[in-house]
């Protein structure tokens, strides 16, 4: 048995890079340091069927085909669609994402990632009011006040608390006892159980509570006994803790990006953090889900100028979330051909979007059998990034780390599959000119 060290976990946006993989006969048989979800991903304990050959739907059945045939078909769908959509991207590495943006330009497609259905509201908010963040190490070394709002890291980001809150830092050498942990969540959760203060607010009242906290911070009094179900005195107490922080951090998740108010909640949350800097040092970090959802937003921004929902139909990048988002295009029945890569909209998109996906040709670049591949006309299985191939990923707050290759699958990486499709699309476009 061989031990491979410093492996980067291809599961969540915490992007732990201290995993040790136990490898036997070119297979990962065990891990150290990984959380249970990361571990099961490494050892394929998910039970999902793995594809190893390209497939195409013929007479209603997915049948094995050659790589060339699958690439040809995928390229033809993209090149011949009037309004192609290329969606996903959050579970692959940055080189693949970069080829993806070029392919979108060439195919005059809309390119969009899973931010569209998770932290899209956060992106809109940071474009409204800004983005004061820090890296994880700053939290570990300095933070004395830590807030998790609308998220349950114990489940979705299992090592997040141990790395950032329980961990001992330079100026917080006792770790957890040196910090005040505040969890804001309408539910009791495994994370809220660990908190010093759990603000169990009413559902869909994040905006009201944030606004009340800002008002208090700016010197106003609360005229009601409670706001969002939280007693006035409790709000005063929490604002006091926040504004006396030496170094405070707000982690926020889908519970606030997708409750009523959406990006307006995040606007207010960011402005609360900005206001707090009058008296304290305060920063924030969005709890991004997929391990490289952040990387796509980075790559797409440096190549096109916009982070997601980018429409290349005129050749010039256009950005208008609400019109150029994946669900907009699907639910409005605008898109007539779709490529899905490194994500599973078949399992997560609303019914109306799925109905459109069922009507149009769908390409899936996806290692496993998923609800999306069940709807696909072409399935091309790639090597899994972080286990079977390497490449860059960006941690939720933007630290780039190189994912390692641990075993050999013999499959093409996403970037290579995309390059081949790109070459073919160029040929088709040139021939039709």
């Amino acid at each position: 048995m061989e031990l491979v060290k410093n492996v980067v976990c291809p599961f969540c946006g915490t992007l732990c890079d201290d995993i040790i993989c136990k490898v036997e006969d070119n297979e990962i048989v065990g891990t150290k340091n990984a959380c249970r979800i990361g571990h099961s991903k490494f050892v394929h304990a998910e039970g999902a069927e793995r594809y190893r050959k390209p497939l195409m739907r013929k007479s209603g059945e997915l049948v094995e085909v050659s790589m060339d045939e699958a690439i040809d078909k995928a390229a033809t769908i993209l090149a011949e669609s009037k309004r192609p959509l290329m969606y996903g991207w959050s579970c692959t590495e940055c080189d693949a994402q970069a080829v993806g943006v070029e392919l979108a330009e060439e195919a005059r497609a809309v390119i969009d990632n899973t931010a569209s259905v998770c932290h899209g509201p956060s992106v809109l908010a940071l474009q409204d009011v800004g983005y004061p963040i820090c890296t994880f190490g700053e939290v570990k070394n300095r933070a004395d006040v830590v807030v998790y709002w609308g998220c349950n890291p114990m489940h979705a980001h299992p090592r997040h608390l141990s790395r950032n809150v329980f961990g001992r830092g330079f100026f917080r050498d006792r770790g957890r006892p040196d910090r005040t942990l505040i969890v804001v969540d309408p539910r009791k959760s495994d994370s809220s159980k660990l908190a010093d203060i759990h603000l169990q607010l009413d559902f869909n009242k994040d905006y009201e509570l944030l606004d009340a906290m800002r008002a208090v911070l700016l010197g106003h009094e609360i005229l009601y006994d409670e706001v969002a179900g939280i007693p006035r005195e409790k709000i005063y107490e929490v604002v006091d803790a926040l504004k006396n922080a030496q170094f405070g951090i707000l982690f926020f998740g889908m519970g606030i990006t997708h409750s009523r108010g959406k990006h307006r909640n995040i606007d207010t949350a960011i402005m609360l953090v900005e206001d707090l800097n009058d008296s304290a040092k305060f920063t924030l970090i969005p709890m991004r889900g997929h391990y490289n959802v952040t990387g796509f937003n980075q790559v797409c921004t440096w190549e096109s100028g916009y982070p997601y929902c980018v429409d290349f139909s005129t050749g010039t990048p256009r950005y208008n979330p609400g019109e150029t988002g994946s669900n907009d295009l699907l639910q409005n029945k605008e898109t007539d051909g779709m490529m899905v890569i490194a994500s599973d909209p078949g399992a997560h998109f609303p019914q109306k979007a799925l109905e459109r996906m069922a009507e149009i040709p769908v390409i899936a670049i996806e290692p496993h059998r998923t609800p999306t591949t069940e709807m696909a006309d072409v399935v091309i299985p790639p090597a899994i990034v972080g286990m079977e191939t390497d490449g860059t990923a960006y941690r939720m707050e933007g630290v780039p780390i190189r994912m390692r290759k641990v075993v050999d699958s013999g499959l093409l990486p996403d970037r290579e599959i995309l390059k081949r499709i790109l070459k073919k699309v160029k040929e088709i476009k040139a021939a039709s000119k």
Binding site: L126, C134, E274, A280, T301, E303
Partner: protein, 571 residues
């Protein structure tokens, strides 16, 4: 592949060629004495020939640059380009996307541009963007001025260990120089504070800006680096900061210059000095102290500066000076991005409108031009806008035209901008006009020399890289002073640009991407044994206080498609 460029009027200051008509021969990407009959001929009759432009300080790649793009879709919306032939699509006026950055530099005849602020922990990001930046050669400057290891070693007085650490970090990040930004101040900002002046210590670490500048200036020469320390002084943008600036300039004076590559004479490179030349105590009684700063530069030979000229545009400010950006946000109320980076540095991004109708931007415009016009020797001053901080790099041709034409400046002062330009600065009294030779100095030879790259960059002598710009402006029949719009137009759209001997721009349009740009980085080995020892110390600290593993920290070779190490000391 051979080329000959015939009959152009050549400005090549490093070889003291001042407007002479001569032919330039190119073979295999280099400038040579002669070529065969078969060489491709480019006719440059009646046109200006200069070496490719060299930008010693710009912000084009990396984390804060991309945040600047991401938080400002409005900046992208007003300036977008379509996919066209070999050219990729893109967008961004003040912060163009990576492909557009390469094209736009090339279009102006610039072939080298240096990213001036790279947080070591995020170095991989900068290099990833370089991979997607076509045509131009480049390097990145890692930030050292608020680094915990540096501050600790300097506090202990252990310059040797500090040098070994700096040497290791330059290699690990594939960085080019020692960049210092608001020394001690950004560490203070991690607690929400700042320092004032050079004698105010960083909290806990208890070293001052002065200690850091002094220590790193010595380390720079111990390592024999090609470029001197690259300093962004304390107190940026504050009225009255010129005293801090002059005191900072004096710190490395007397240190012996020791480059192992190149032929620089300076031990200090001070950047965007325009932002550091202010008198008064607040924005009401503010006055320009650029004349005092220029006087210092005129009297001292250990320093080279760049200006950071305000171009009077709407732009995006971005810097590792975290507290400064927060102050700017509280001043203008616009959106604020920030990123504090563990154990190393910080950064901030805020949009800014330098309105020509507003008093302060107009005065800042005057301060920058005063520096250009009052520093006598163009061998000591470089053209920059600290892009995009004082304005986007795409305005360089306009700045050049302002420098060459008193009429252009007078028109601005009299008709276009706020009266504070003349009231708060001496700009209206200065009638000096730059020659084309001097323009070639501040945009080509001076930056190439102070970067330590003048063996191959910034000149047109035999052995230089064949990076050449040709502009359709005839100095024998046209006068830049009178015909300033024509010279601005010509400099904006080169008629030809050669990069590594290939034509990449023709008639102001990118026609060829050529080979990928070089990534320059410094390879030094101060003391192998000590470097090992320091590395072990660093690894221990990593385990406890960093959020990435030591083994995953150095930038892998995969990120440098055309790696070009430049040696410092090699034991």
């Amino acid at each position: 592949m051979e080329h000959i460029i015939k009959n152009g009027i050549v400005y090549d200051p490093l070889n003291e060629v001042n407007g002479e008509q001569m032919d330039i021969c190119i073979k295999d990407g280099k400038i040579v004495d002669s070529v065969s009959e078969d060489a491709n001929v480019t006719d440059a009759s009646g046109q200006i020939i200069m070496p490719g432009g060299v930008d010693p300080h710009t912000h084009i790649a990396g984390a804060k640059v991309n945040v600047g793009r991401m938080i400002r879709p409005e900046d992208s919306k007003k300036d977008a380009e379509s996919l066209a032939g070999i050219k990729r699509a893109g967008s961004g006026f003040s912060v163009p996307s990576t492909f557009m950055t390469g094209y736009r530099y090339a279009k102006m005849g610039y072939t080298t541009a240096m990213e001036a602020a790279m947080p070591p922990l995020l170095a991989r990001h900068t290099h990833e963007e370089f991979v997607d930046t076509p045509i131009i050669d480049h390097a990145a400057y890692p930030l050292f001025g608020n680094n915990w290891f540096v501050m600790d070693y300097l506090k202990e007085g252990d310059l040797d260990k500090c040098a070994a650490y700096v040497s290791w970090l330059l290699k690990s990040t594939k960085g080019y120089t020692i960049k210092i930004v608001n020394p001690a101040g950004t560490e203070a900002w991690a607690w929400g504070g700042n320092v004032h002046g050079i004698n105010d210590p960083a909290p806990y670490f208890d070293v001052t800006g002065a200690d850091i500048i002094k220590g790193l200036a010595e380390v720079n020469e111990m390592l024999g680096l090609p470029h001197p320390i690259h300093l962004h002084c304390n107190d940026l943008g504050h009225p009255g900061n010129y005293e801090t600036t002059l005191a900072s300039f004096d710190i490395p004076k007397g240190i012996k210059v020791n480059p192992k590559h190149g032929s620089r004479e300076a031990v200090l490179y001070a950047t965007h000095v325009q932002f550091h030349s202010y008198g008064g105590t607040n924005w009401r009684d503010f006055v320009s102290e650029a004349p005092k700063i220029a006087d210092y530069v005129n009297k001292n030979d250990h320093i080279v500066i760049d200006v950071g000229q305000v171009t009077l545009d709407e732009t995006t400010t971005m810097t590792a000076d975290g507290p400064m950006e927060y102050d700017l946000h509280t001043l203008n109320g616009l959106k604020w991005a920030n990123c504090d980076v563990e154990l190393e540095t910080g950064s901030g991004v805020v949009p800014f409108l330098y309105s020509p109708r507003a008093p302060v931007p107009s005065a800042q415009w005057g301060v920058g031009l005063e520096l250009f016009l009052l520093v006598n020797d163009p061998g000591k001053i470089c053209l920059t806008t600290d892009s995009p901080n004082a304005g986007p790099f795409t305005r360089y041709p306009r700045v050049m035209a302002w420098l060459m034409s008193n009429r252009y400046r007078t028109d601005m002062i009299e008709n276009k901008i706020h009266k504070w330009a003349q009231r708060k600065t001496s700009i209206a009294t200065l009638d000096r006009e730059y020659s084309l030779y001097e323009i070639a100095q501040i945009s080509r030879s001076t930056p190439a020399k102070v970067l330590g790259l003048s063996d191959t960059k910034g000149h047109l002598g035999v052995g230089a890289d064949a990076d050449i710009s040709i502009f359709n402006f005839n100095p024998e029949t046209q006068d830049p002073s009178a015909d300033y719009m024509a010279v601005e137009e010509a400099l904006s759209n080169a008629s030809y640009v050669f990069k590594d001997g290939e034509i990449v721009v023709k008639d102001g349009a990118v026609v060829n991407i050529g080979i990928h740009g070089r990534t320059y980085w410094v390879n030094s080995l101060y003391d192998a044994e000590l470097e090992k020892q320091v590395e072990a110390e660093v690894e221990k600290v990593f385990k406890q206080y960093y959020s990435v593993n030591f083994a995953n920290y150095p930038v892998q070779d995969e990120y440098l498609p055309r790696s070009n190490p430049v040696n410092g000391v090699m034991e």
